[in-house]
Symmetry: C2
Subunit: 395 residues, 2 copies
């Protein structure tokens, strides 16, 4: 018998598996070119060529027992120093290797920092709509996730409600910018107000409230929009980063945490995060890929491809009358459903369009469309989207 | 402030870090060639050449978005099928891809299966001396680890006490064969008796007791000794494996769980383990290295090197009068301390010999010596071991 706490999750996962199986059946029935799968956040653009070159050069030139061996649980010191330097250049920060902990992707990093910070019953706040896995990550470490209700006007953080929901039990706040699922990018002004509120409430309660900046989509921003670096606006910020999207390496599980000297109880937080990385079973971030990313700090995938997809979708879906907030980051669009969310998802499926219901992100009445797909597939899907709009009386 | 539950672990880790720093100071003071570090289980033998060849061939010939992308959280189906076939050939088992879940090393695999099985307060049994991290892994998932006291005659499992310690709350038993820290290999006869006891007690309590076989050292066995494959002796067995030692890839974090069809509640256990791999933040085992190990299923490191080290140590340390159980697996020796354990570790350090105290493995009065080191270092250390034997009046 499995753990009782796993039973519901197994049920949910079998629903998702059923959807996936249905997608495969549809592909078999209608031909894969006639199924329009916008459900997955799996990057479609290839990694930059420098990634392959770095892999092969390291394999040919570095000591195998160094490249594939254990290192400090926080990662190779030279890799961490190179990342710190690169961040300092990009964001005018002042990090060094002590501030960087290499992790098994952003998901690994979030679990490491939550294990580091949370005692049973500690609260973590985030803003709806939000990446549903936060629920699981917080529960893993016996915390309680609370979501600030969505601001459905522009999907910026609802800061008034946020201020009311911060309590003496709030140990951390997770913010995801650029945002999954909305594609919105929070600007500096918003971050400054958020930081002011957190400073004020921390003083009021006499507590240290940590801000966890979950930033796997940092490099995916369009229209020249700036993604603020949060350690500059709130001392108590820990950044979680991943190369999954910036270098199209999601399977490799490589990312890092930035734990600045300015965070409360820095020495202990850094030491505990190192221990957490080990005891959660990660032990360390995979070794060879650590050395690869350190050589590719200025590389990034050709974001133009995603931008082209975005522009086509924004133009066409507006034409068809769909309502959505203009996406400026990540590779997601967040679309209001003109009819009941479940009915809309089902109607879309009849047109062989696969979308994720908004309630998976704690915000019903919407769907998430992931546009990290082939441009041609989007083009082919447009006629079906137009029919869907008419059927569901978007206008 | 960090979590209260992390505070003691940070203290312990700073003790270990202090030891490590002291080792570095000793190396600076006496020269690295005069410090004999037997404390770490970091493989000294290089990976087989086929590993590098596989890396480069995959990078040159397979689709980058396949090689570095997301796949099923349980791993690539073709990789899992190849591993299942290889196990079937080696052990006359009957696995297929549904039975294999790729993990972030054995540590990742143990956490996945413990998350899958344990509710709060569930008990897990293991046999002292044991790998200390089991305590952390079980605590991560709110279980309680209980260690069966050591059988100090031959360090085989103490099966009489084991039978008494099994209760209706026992959800799992972890067995590590070949054993860290003792180097002992449990033979088939022992496993059969252990299985009988578990079957009997499971019936008595009306519970399913899972046997978790932690086998990162499986390929490291000497003197032609056989390491039994536990799924053949107890239906409810889940195997955790890692390539860390067999292919000298500990930094890469690659291993797998075997969940046979014969385990109780198989469908749910396999589905829940897939979910656990995702929500613990592993998401999936690193992708490229999955594809590499699938091409190297018949490769293994040159175990002769470790065997040569073992033979030299066994010969010399016996001559000097040290008492130990003859190691036949892994790369560890388990030596009785002729004086108080702490005093012995300190005395060894004066001779620039670094050993891990037995109490770290739940069994005081012993030290663990890891011989995954250069043969020359062992040779150089022998004169110091001889002095240490005389000083501590081994005879």
């Amino acid at each position: 018998m499995i753990a009782k706490k796993m039973e519901d999750m197994v049920k949910n996962s079998s629903v998702i598996r059923a959807m996936f199986e249905e997608g495969k059946k549809m592909a078999a029935q209608f031909g894969p070119e006639n199924v329009y799968d916008f459900s997955l956040g799996n990057p479609s653009i290839e990694p930059p060529v420098s990634v392959k070159e770095a892999f092969i050069d390291i394999l040919n030139s570095e000591e195998p027992n160094l490249v594939h061996g254990y290192m400090n649980n926080s990662g190779y010191p030279d890799v961490r120093a190179a990342i710190a330097d690169s961040l300092n250049k990009k964001f005018d920060t002042n990090f060094d290797e002590r501030n960087i902990l290499m992790t098994v992707g952003a998901a690994g990093g979030l679990n490491v920092i939550l294990k580091t910070l949370l005692d049973e019953g500690d609260e973590v706040l985030t803003f709806a709509p939000y990446f549903g896995e936060y629920n699981n990550y917080v529960k893993n470490h016996c915390g309680v996730l609370k979501a600030v209700p969505a601001n459905t006007v522009d999907f910026m953080p609802n800061l008034e409600q946020f201020e009311q929901m911060l309590t003496a039990k709030t140990k951390a706040v997770i913010i995801n910018n650029p945002n999954n699922p909305t594609g919105v990018v929070y600007p500096v002004e918003t971050i400054k107000v958020l930081a002011e509120i957190m400073v004020k409430k921390g003083k009021e309660f006499g507590t240290d409230i940590y801000l966890i900046a979950d930033e796997p989509y940092r490099e995916l921003a369009y229209d020249g929009v700036e993604v603020p670096y949060l350690t500059k606006y709130y001392d108590n910020t820990i950044v979680g980063y991943s190369y999954s999207k910036s270098l199209s390496l999601p399977g490799e599980r490589i990312g890092y945490l930035v734990i600045p000297d300015s965070v409360a109880d820095f020495e202990n937080v850094a030491a505990a995060a190192n221990v957490a990385n080990r005891i959660l079973g990660f032990v360390n971030a995979p070794s060879l890929i650590q050395r690869v990313v350190a050589r590719c700090l200025d590389a990034k995938v050709d974001v133009e491809g995603y931008d082209k997809n975005r522009k086509l979708l924004v133009e066409k879906l507006s034409q068809f009358g769909f309502e959505f907030v203009r996406p400026q980051g990540a590779f997601y669009m967040w679309i209001k459903t003109p009819i009941d969310e479940k009915e809309f998802v089902a109607a879309a499926k009849k047109h062989r369009i696969l979308l994720v219901p908004g309630s998976s992100f704690g915000c019903a009445g919407y769907v998430r469309l992931a546009y990290c797909v082939d441009y041609n597939m989007i083009e082919r899907a447009m006629v079906e989207f137009e029919k869907l709009a008419k059927e569901t009386k978007v206008n």
